[in-house]
Amino acid sequence: MTTVDAPDRLPDHRKLGMTDDEYQGVINILGREPLAAELAMYSVMWSEHCSYKSSRTHLGRFKSDQPWVVVGPGENAGVVDLGDGWLAALRIESHNHPSFVEPYQGAATGVGGILRDIFTMGARPIALWNALRFGPLDEPRNRYLFEGVVSGIAGYGNAVGVPTLGGEVEFADRFSKNPLVNVMALGILKRDQLVLSAASGVGNVAILLGAATGRDGIGGASILASAAFEEGDEEKRPNVQVGDPFEEKKLIEACLELFDRNLVVAIQDLGAAGISCATSEVAGSGGLGMDVDLDRVHLRESDMNPGEILMSESQERMLAVVTPENEAEVLAVAERWEIDASTIGTITTGPELVVYSGGEIVGDVPAASLADDAPRYDRPAERPDYLDEAWASEPHVLQSLDAAEVLRVLLDDPAIGDRTWISRQYDHMLFLNTVIEPGHDASLLRIKGTKKALAISTDGDSLRTYLDPRRGSARIVFESALNVAVTGATPYALVDNLNFGNPEVPGVMWQFIESVEGIAWACEALDVPVVGGNVSFYNQTDGVDIYPSPVVGMLGFCEPMPEQPPRLDRAEEGMTIWLVGQDAQGDFAASAYDRIINGALGGRPCDVDAETARRVVEAATTLAYETPVLHDISIGGLAVALAEVAIKSGVGFEIEGVSGPDLFDETPLRFIAVTYGDELPTNAPHREIGVVGGDALDFGDAGAIDVAEAANIWRNALPRRME
């Protein structure tokens, strides 16, 4: 074969984030030194971001073996069966480092990327969610990041025409230099539209669809996502990727038409590692090879070298594999939707991926080796020391607290206050599916033309997970399950996004493994399959690791949908208030009370048993069909949950027989039910705690506060900080 670059002109593998051992691994595969373009391909494909080299060993712990799972982890998105030929596709992804470099574009391109993972499967994306972490809002820089990320999600999601139905956000010091931006998307499709990424059929052609390839993210946005940050790194960073939702919208419509008309054999989105990744994955996972001609790639800048073209992370591109007979028709569809398309490759028996440029071979590697032969590390893990001290301390709660005083402070917290400042920037109504909008425990979407509905909740709890990664992680699964259950849905499938610090730190690795264990165990307890996810390591800046931050997205499913699903604003004078689920167990570790009132973080979150979890979740799902208001008790405890119902319904209540501390206790797996009558049809533990009526949140002996005052504090928590 011809070589274009002499070995002495090879870029240093270490500059591309590759260790000497990994480099040797490449040499072993090829039996020679890699060419420049080859090294470029291996360096991105073997980055932490693309290869999951530190996490893969542990992800096998997740189970996806329920009968309704159609596609589990490994494809672009997980797919589950909703009956009658309907399927749902879901996926979550992080865009943390790019959003720190440029919040608007980082978040916007994150949205674009997750959508491509969904429509690559043949599904029409119908909704988006996000999970965000920032430093405290009293810092101008954190406000700038928060504002930019929210408007980036809005700017892209709204324009591309996919509604954003919610999300969650936390603020804590450890995220100041490393905010988290996770985005999740849901799509629906009919079974015969499902498309996978493995190519078949020697002689089929690969067509690159969508945006022109430019120097976006060269030097590797994936490498950026695979290394810790240091102050002053700015100059080394790759180009900011600029999102183009208009291009993506056209790409969605064009691809869906291609699937509808059965014109493609396989398809793969171009995300991290661009053409290298897409070509090697479609060929490699089909056990085949591909000849790729870089001269045929439509470029934005004409003077790009082969390595740059292969590594470019330009957005809004897809690679479709089609039979030669269909090639002309596919190009015609692209033309009709006004997107560019070029045939760049041909499927071969392989197993090599052979890359040509200027008529010469610039790369010739076993296609599957880029993905399959990536290194795997079982990194050392060790329980970190901070836990001894944390567990030894005990959050202190005043027995005779004034609930009104505490509530005034809690309702003003940006993580508890009203999120309308965020959700009103997102189109959350498009497609006329939104039955329960953002601002409730979960959002609920109907599927028009059926009696089916889907509920989604995203949840994370970084501080509790910090105090006990296993219990904290299990609890976010239970919380998300209860969140979808109170809309009438049954927890059906989960995706997870594991945001952690530097995996080379044994304490971080321990947090990670514990967290995986907690999520996996909780999902098994509820028979919920894990159908996909994402791992984001190296969330470390200047040597400080973020709080361990697993985030889950729970899909709930119901059929039929309740005729009048419970809402927070349906409480009326004269209704009875019930507390359903576990009794308060004095659970104040990482509670809002301890964090905000005491300014402390310590103790050990209490454990949950699987039987209780199942029972309480089932009780909520059942009650949802006949109860006007159901609301999960989480951050801020019973008091905050009740306050939200009162504020949204515009009516007060009187509570009796709940002690001050119990009002703020955060014991999981509890919810409130508000309904007429003096019986609650459930066999889960429950007791009556009060009635709806009056103008005050009246906690009896623990104090009272006017609904209007509480509403005012709660509604202004974000606006007063942001405006």
């Binding site: 408007s151 809005a154 700017g155 709204n158 324009a159 025409g161 183009d244 939702p245 208009f246 291009e247 919208k249 056209k250 939707w337 006004e338 309308t420 959700s423 009103r424 920037q425 997102y426 189109d427 959350h428 109504m429 498009l430 497609f431 006329l432 939104t434 039955v435 909008e437 109907r446 028009k448």
Partner: protein
């Protein structure tokens, strides 16, 4: 009777408006912007979305789409024509309605139900409503702030058909969500057959979505199309 729903690249509310029109009993046909013929539709809808990404200026590029010649011809001949949100912006750019739309006062996208007060029933959009009636309909836009250099004339001639208001119909700065001049949410042309407005009636077309207040506008439009056909 057939209602043509024009689809530009970047339009995204076409299926939603079709859903609402069909709930009200209409037959609809989606027409791609590269087509040149509306086939004598009885009414025309330019739906919401982001035609051409809203790049350059919202509505600016869409107005030159091939289909727009026939939209202008039919609208000028009297065919009931409405533009919702992005469709309103396109009608302004095309010169079928006066004025234009610029960024919201607080430079934020706004998606929320707002109250609008019916100012005039002399339009294809409001004929079945009552003057002073207050509707609760979602707004969903970044560029919903109406401006015009001939605002006095527009007001004097009664071209304003919808204004942002409070739930009791009060119109003031506090009930103006986006800074729109004189709280204008919708206007009509001199012939009263073309109307443009920012809120999305299709999003208030079923009780399960939270409101059915949009249906009076949709029904007005369909009644106008029926009349124009007769």
């Amino acid at each position: 009777m057939t209602i043509a729903v024009v689809v530009f690249p970047g339009t995204n509310c076409e299926h939603d408006i079709v859903h609402a029109l069909e709930l009200a009993g209409a037959d609809t046909e989606m027409v791609w912007h590269r087509d040149t013929d509306l086939r004598g539709a009885d009414g025309i809808v330019l739906p919401g979305g982001f035609a051409h990404g809203d790049y350059l200026r919202t509505g600016a590029i869409a107005r030159f789409s091939p289909i727009m010649d026939d939209v202008v011809t039919l609208a000028t001949e009297g065919t009931p024509t409405i533009g919702i949100c992005n469709g309103f912006q396109i009608l302004c750019e095309a010169g079928l309605l006066p004025g234009g739309l610029v960024a919201n006062r607080d430079l934020k996208f706004i998606c929320e139900p707002v109250h609008i007060r019916v100012e005039s029933t002399d339009s294809v959009l409001t004929r079945a409503a009552e003057v002073g009636q207050v509707l609760r309909i979602p707004l969903n836009s970044y560029e919903g702030n109406y401006v015009a250099d001939n605002i006095q004339r527009i007001e004097a001639e009664g071209d304003v058909i919808l204004r942002y208001s409070g739930s009791g119909g009060e119109v003031d700065d506090g009930t103006n969500p986006n800074g729109s001049t004189n709280s204008i949410a919708g206007i009509t042309n001199a012939a009263r057959n073309v109307a443009g407005f920012m809120p999305h009636p299709e999003r208030a077309s079923e009780a399960i979505l939270g409101s059915t207040d949009g249906m009076v506008l949709i029904e007005s439009f369909l009644a106008s199309a029926e009349l124009a056909r007769a």
